[in-house]
Amino acid sequence: MIKLTGVKKIYQMGKIDVAAIRGIDLKVENNEYLSVLGPSGSGKSTLMHIIGCLDTPTEGEYRLEGRDVSGLSSNQLAEIRNKKVGFVFQSFNLLPYATALENVELPMIYKGGSARQRRKRAGELLAKVGLGDRARHRPTELSGGERQRVAIARALANSPSIVLADEPTGNLDSTSGKEVIQVFDELWQQGCIVIIVTHDSEIADRTPRIVKLLDGRVVDDMQR
């Protein structure tokens, strides 16, 4: 379960303060599938970073599975990102010099454990996203859809309870985009919290819940 209470994020740009998030209350139950919809600059990426423990709120409280995250050290946050959160980015963010298999292995390296198990699981995950035959390819040798599926496999490496996707289809053609979204549908069915951040209402319409953001505030929270 995710619970944000009065969360604000203020960046200092030189001498002026810029508020990316101006006070958000949000509660997400386990195994919810929602999209965060909003135009660019509405603070949706910042919200995703805070939910994913990649960034910390300037003000307010954030509880992840009942635990207050605000006071944790960077190492503790790293551990949460490693074990509980899976990120999928618009620009894939794969290591360019590593093969698909090595990219999927990366979170497992930081978790620790035997290399053989790591390799086996990475192979299984790639097969699951339909890239079993692409394990030895580097990102530059893969299509956009394939790259994003590698990124999804990487996000799932340590069986996270939350999958966060920031404009996952933004760089994809519509066919690949649909395939990727289908993978998220499956993840939800398997019991994950899946949050898709997007400005595309067509994608948002697929999810049971839509949270609309504008200027760092929640303006609408639709449950269907």
Binding site: L54, D55, S74, N75, A78, N82, L95, P96, P107, R154
Partner: protein
């Protein structure tokens, strides 16, 4: 391990820069190793030269009293006699080997139609061991029987032999010392001798002390040479020499002018300090080169990290902790340094080998010795390399670990 593969991939990407850094480290390592090897060689060379006169020995000469004692005035001459030498050895158990030394200057030697004037020395058999005098093949030094039976036998310095016999065999031949026939029993094996008293051993001749006394009728010794049984007790033994002699000749044992002493043990200790200093100095010179290389490496590491900001961000996003990132870059730095260090060590090792193959007969090389690769040298170098690699890695690595993932992922 991804780390290693990544390292080699980055190596490919930054090929020129990393190769240049490795070259700098090769050069730095080589300079440390070669400097230390030369230092080791010089030290050993000088040490060998010093041991040419004898290792751990004390030479005692006669002197004059400078303090009044029991009603006796100052300026009284204290002579050394052969009996005194024997008395010292009997009464001081701390004395190991001992030999009295008579010297006759201008002894006249002839063999066939060759003749020369040099010094004749009358000693005990222990003298050979004390003063590191070893015979060439086929000869021997004086022995107890020579001494006991006052044999007319002589041991020649190699220069003396050269002048009298040239290339001819000397052992077994009869030479005339002041017209008295002596049998040559041995010739000094050429040695490096950098310190001496009363001249170099290569120019001297040695006959039994007993024979010497009969021939020349000297009553006083030139000096006594002894070695303490235990070097750490050398000071006490010296004190005992003053006490025993003071008792016999009635002088104050605290009056150090009565007997003059040359303690090579003290000299050795001093030399040890000097040579350590020289080694540290040379090591520092080499080390400085290595530090310059280390700065270059740190520079490259900073560049690598700047180019890798996004990837570092990705790693942090998927759960890399500070120490994961720091370890990774220190490891890269150490790997670069080990590559350079290994090549550098190999290079200097071969260089030292090559130098030692070249036949250099000049005097200078005898004194300076030849460079020596020792385990200590290799260990010191490895230690310095490790330190340089660590330091060149730690600062860039810390910067890498403090990358803000949100910013890093945003930048394209």
């Amino acid at each position: 391990m991804i780390n290693l593969q990544q390292f080699f991939r980055e190596l490919k990407k930054e090929r020129t820069r990393i190769l240049l850094t490795i070259l700098a480290i090769v050069w730095g390592t080589a300079s440390v190793v070669i400097m230390l090897a030369i230092g080791e060689g010089v030290t050993r060379g000088l040490q060998r030269g010093m041991h040419g006169m004898g290792k751990g020995i004390v030479v005692v000469w006669s002197g004059e009293t400078s303090k009044p004692f029991k009603g006796l005035g100052i300026g009284r001459r204290i002579h050394l006699r052969e009996e005194d030498a024997r008395m010292l050895q009997e009464q001081i158990p701390g004395i190991g080997l001992m030999s009295p030394e008579y010297i006759r200057w201008g002894a006249y030697f002839t063999w066939n139609d060759h003749s020369m004037s040099t010094r004749a020395t009358g000693v005990y058999p222990a003298y050979g061991q004390l003063r590191n005098i070893y015979p060439q093949k086929g000869g021997r030094f004086l022995n107890k029987l020579d001494l006991k039976s006052r044999r007319r036998v002589v041991f020649l310095g190699n220069e003396v032999k050269e002048r009298l016999f040239g290339d001819k065999e000397a052992v077994g031949e009869t030479v005339y010392l002041n017209r008295v026939p002596f049998t040559v029993i041995g010739v000094l094996k050429k040695k490096l001798q950098t310190s001496c008293y009363s001249g170099m051993d290569q120019d001297a001749t040695f006959i039994p002390a007993s024979t010497f006394r009969v021939m020349f009728g000297h009553r006083h010794l030139n000096d006594i040479v002894y070695s303490p049984r235990d070097i750490s007790r050398a000071k006490q033994v010296k004190e005992q020499v003053y006490q025993v002699m003071g008792k016999k000749y009635k002088f104050d044992p605290k009056d150090k002018d009565t007997l003059r002493m040359w303690d090579t043990i003290e000299m050795q200790e001093g030399f040890g300090k000097v040579s350590t200093g020289v080694r540290i100095f040379l090591g520092i010179i080499g080390g400085l080169t290595l530090i310059v290389a280390g700065v270059g490496l740190a520079n490259i590491m900073y560049a690598v990290i700047r180019n890798r900001t996004r990837e570092i961000g990705i790693k942090i996003a998927v759960g890399a902790k500070r120490r994961n990132i720091i370890t990774e870059y220190i490891l890269q730095s150490l790997l670069t340094v080990s590559a350079g260090g290994a090549i550098g060590l190999g290079f200097s090792w071969s260089l030292v080998k090559v130098i030692n193959i070249i036949p250099l007969k000049q005097e200078a090389f005898q004194y300076l010795g030849r460079p020596v690769m020792s385990v200590t040298t290799a260990l010191i170098t490895a230690g310095v390399l490790g330190l340089v690699g660590f330091l060149a890695g730690i600062f860039p690595a810390r910067r890498a670990a403090s990358v803000n993932p949100v910013d890093a992922l945003r930048c394209e």
